[in-house]
Every structure is written in C-alpha cells, then in structure tokens.
C-alpha cells in the first residue's frame, strides 16, 4: 500500500498532468490566483492614526470593514482546495509571507511560473460605504504587497487594488506604486456602484495609459446583491453573478467610449469564464446599430472594441461539443486575447491542462494562452521557468536527504 492524503497529495495529479504534457518546459503565467485574507494587523502598521487603530483586528473581534458573502462555497466541505489553504502552515524560514506560501507550493505542482496574486477578501471591499476606509485598506495593502510580498519572489506579481470610491486616491495609488517591482497593473473590483465613465476617472485612465499598465476588472458573485437575491441556491448566484458584474462594467466602459478616448489602455476582465463574451458582443452590437446616438463616441461596433480586450479563462465552461467552445474562442480571438488563470485556491480552480487539453487549439495557441499572452501584456521579458527550477531543486534536496 502507499500513503496518499489530501494534505500532501492534493495536487499530485496536476503535477502528473504537467509532466506528461511537458508543461514544466514552457512558461506559464497564472493571471489570477488568491491569498484568502488580508493581514489587517500588518497593513495597519503602514497607516497613520486614526486608521491604524481602525484597521487592527482585536482579540475575539474582526475588522468589520469587509463584508463576508453568504453561501457555502465548498458544498458542505466536498471541495477541498480552500480548506487546505487555510490548514496549510508556512515553515518558520519561509521566504514569502505565510499568506502566500500555500500558493508557492501549489504553483510548483501546477507548473505555474508567474502568478498575479490578489486578496480574496478585498473583492468585496468596494461595497464598504466608508470611502476613507477603502482608501486606507488599499494603501496599507499596497505597502505590504510591494514591501513584503513582491520582493520576496520574482514569480509573484500583482494588479493592485484601486480604491475606486475616491478617484483622486486612485491616481495617487498609481503614482506611488505603479513603478514598484512586481506591480504589473491595477484592479477594479466589480461589485460596486461608482460610475466608471464619470469624468473624475479620466485622469486615472490617462495615467494608466501613459504608464502602459493594464486595468483589470475582477468580478465576483456577491449573493446579498439585489439582482442575485431572488436566487435561492449558491449554485445559481455563483453561475450568474460572475458574468453579470463583468458585463455591467464592460458595457459601461465600451458604450461610454473609454477605449475610444484611451486607445492604448489595456483592459482585462477576470473570472467569469468565456461564454458570456459572445452573448455580450451580440447584444451590444444589436442595440448599438439601432441607436448610435446613444453612444456617440463609438466609431465601430462594441464587439470590435471587445476584441481588443483581454479575458482570463477560469472557470472555463465545460461543453460536450467542442465546436461550441471553439466558436466562442474564435469570436474574441482567444489565441491572442485569452490569459490562463487558475483562481487557486478557490473551489472552481482550473489547472493548466484545462487549456492544454482543448482539442481545437494548436501548440502555438496553447502556449500563447497559457503564458505568452500574459507575459507580453504584463511586460515580463525573458521569463524564467520558476516551477521547473523549484521542482528540480526540491528533488535534489530529497535525494540529498536520502543519502
């Protein structure tokens, strides 16, 4: 008999997949993975009073600054990736902070060389009506990320959270952190109600465009939102919520002509799979040709702007007829515009094989989606095969210990 257990062997099959497909030999970039909880006590230390005290978590309490969503993500514990993340303990000598350590272990088995890391809890921070608290958390988290996380390992990158309730603070964030090592873009979390087309945001878009930094829109399904409140199952809220908020932000962006005003600004839409993209293309185009005067800045159909946007792959939809997925990929030029994302350790994570095994992609397209598109978008030159190097280092250490 052999000893297999969840803690040690959860991602062994992903490692086998990577080995059998040669994935350790090609650069893979994960455009979206997560640490689960922002270390509020640590980021508080970067702030002046009264915010330092306001952010600290006191014994037995919680920050109360970020609303937790309802719902059972693990289906009564059946899906194990998130519980395993929380159970994982970083060793004393860990070079990376304890929040990040489980991701490094996972990346090695998933053959991921570069990761964009983002805090799960902050996906809901945009719903906090206290703008100054949003700004404080965003600033403290950016300091922690750029001083403690990103310098600790070359494989770690981030798109920093923008406190979107304060457009001027967003500009200050880009000015202060946009050139820091490992900051490859900035992020708008999508469950929020600020009008992204308002004049007050134009300086932000202009600055990002000038700096060549992509703007990401990370969606979520927040069950307590009114549109989702009619849905009585987590399954339902999750299935509709993610594409819904990406669609709302993308629609506002395109119909108000933001890409027309900032043609060199790169947009990335994160975590809604791909099947919503053709739906939105066709819906917006159909309405647009009837009412161009409602969108006077547009010089072409909405779908044509969308073909210049970038999208992440996860959670890639399952279909029994691959022709359907192939058509979707063609509609938004996935070979050049799609970025692989794992979303690890969230329960619906995708391994790189989710892309590599698609039967309608040739080897060149697979490599572009798994890594090259992201490396180009995020301006990472001469990529290092970090996963392969780490794995070989570990194998050498194991062999050495056996001697």
């Amino acid at each position: 008999m052999i000893d297999l257990n969840l803690k040690d062997n959860f991602l062994d099959n992903a490692e086998k997949q990577a080995l059998s497909r040669g994935l350790y030999d090609i650069p893979i970039m994960d455009a979206d993975c997560h640490y689960m909880t922002t270390p509020m006590n640590e980021i508080a230390e970067y702030l002046e009073e009264p915010y330092r005290s306001r952010l600290r978590i006191y014994s037995g309490g919680s920050t109360k600054h970020i609303a937790l969503d309802l719902g059972d993500r693990t289906v009564a514990g059946r899906m194990k990736s998130m519980p395993l993340y929380f159970q994982s303990k970083a060793p004393e000598n860990s070079a990376v902070p304890k929040e990040i350590h489980p991701l490094m272990r996972a990346n090695q088995k998933l053959a991921i060389d570069y990761s964009i890391v983002f805090p799960t809890d902050m996906l809901q921070l945009g719903l906090n009506p206290q703008s100054d608290i949003e700004v404080a958390i965003a600033y403290g988290a950016a300091r922690w990320m750029t001083e403690k996380v990103l310098p600790s390992d070359d494989s770690l990158k981030t798109m920093l959270y923008l406190p979107f309730s304060d457009p001027e603070a967003c500009v200050r964030m880009v000015e202060e952190f946009g050139d820091k090592k490992g900051v490859v873009g900035f992020m708008v979390t999508c469950v929020r109600y600020q009008p992204i087309y308002h004049n007050s945001y134009m300086p932000l878009y202009k600055l990002l465009e000038e700096k060549g930094l992509p703007l990401g829109f990370h969606t979520a399904s927040y069950w307590m939102e009114k549109p989702l409140h009619q849905l009585n199952r987590f399954l339902s809220a999750h299935a509709l919520g993610f594409p819904l908020y990406n669609m709302i932000q993308l629609t506002n962006l395109v119909i108000n002509g933001i890409p027309e005003r900032f043609p060199d600004l790169k947009f990335l839409f994160i975590e809604a799979g791909v099947s919503w993209i053709p739906f939105l293309m066709m819906r917006l185009d159909s309405d647009f040709i009837y009412r161009h005067s409602d969108a006077p800045l547009l010089s072409k159909r909405p779908s044509e702007y969308m073909k210049n946007f970038y999208f992440t792959s996860q959670p890639l939809e399952y279909t029994d007829n691959m022709k359907h997925l192939e058509s979707i990929f063609e509609m938004f030029d996935a070979e050049n515009q799609l970025l692989y994302a794992s979303d690890y350790p969230h329960q619906d994570f995708d391994a790189p094989a989710s892309i590599y095994d698609l039967p309608f992609l040739n080897e060149k397209a697979k490599r572009k989606i798994l890594g090259e598109n992201a490396l180009k978008l995020f301006n990472i030159k001469e990529p290092v095969l970090h996963a392969k190097n780490r794995r070989e280092q570990e194998l050498r250490e194991m062999a050495s210990n056996r001697r």
């Binding site: 008999m1 052999i2 969840l6 099959n13 997949q17 009564a76 514990g77 059946r78 995708d350 094989a353």
Partner: protein, 126 residues
C-alpha cells in the same frame, strides 16, 4: 506486489479495510483507491474523469435528494441512505460508487477495477 494469479495485485488484508476509508496502491504506475462501502469493496483509479483530480481522496457521502409530496410540494432534502457517492475533492463531482457514473452528468464515469476477496485478502485485477 503480485497475487497468486497473473495480473492480480494484492492490496491488503480484508481486515485492514475500514468502512468509507480508502487505502491506496500503485499498480503499474496507476494510483488506485480501494474502499469498503456497505460490505462491498470498490477499486477506483485515483483520477477523476472530469479534470483528473484525485477522486479517491475525496469524501464518501450519501446522495442528497429532495422529498416531494403527492402534490409536488418540497418537503425537504435528505441524505439518501442507499445511495453512496465518492466525491472528487478538486471540483466536487459526485460519482455513484456502485456504477462509477457521475450523478450530475453520465458522460463522466470512474475507471473502476475489479476488486476480489479471497482467503481474507483483497486483490485488484487490471
């Protein structure tokens, strides 16, 4: 370890098996989970047909069903006592342990191997 017949592989003594607690063997490069459920031994390749997750490391749980009364009113959900699933810990796909078929989508089917009990020992056959 070879059994007394060709292509049979010894897993363990029957007495080692604990209800719903899989044990594992590696046979010709394949990880196989062997699990005792209601006095029946099942052997399953530790690879989910959906995304190749380690299906045998997941929960063994009873299928959830909804009770409807004669007027089709929902009278609550229950764990069906006679339907036992093995659940992939990656993405939660649930498989009827007896047939190996995914309860949500019959196109996904576990790779089950023959489990043989002889002389107090469990063998699997490829």
């Amino acid at each position: 370890m070879e059994g007394q017949f060709r292509m049979e592989h010894l897993v363990c003594e029957r007495s080692r098996l604990v209800e719903r607690k899989p044990v594992f063997v590696n046979v010709e490069g394949m990880d196989v989970g062997v699990v005792l459920i209601k006095d029946q031994v099942h052997a399953v390749e530790n690879s989910c047909p959906h995304a190749e997750g380690p299906v045998c490391l997941g929960d063994v749980s009873n299928r959830v069903r909804m009770k409807l009364d004669e007027n089709k009113l929902n009278r609550g959900e229950y764990a069906s006592p006679d339907e036992v699933n093995i659940v992939c810990p990656w993405h939660g796909l649930e498989f009827d342990i007896a047939s190996g078929v995914c309860t949500a989508d019959s196109r996904f089917k576990l790779h089950k191997l023959a489990a043989i009990e002889r002389d107090g020992k469990i063998y699997i056959s490829l």
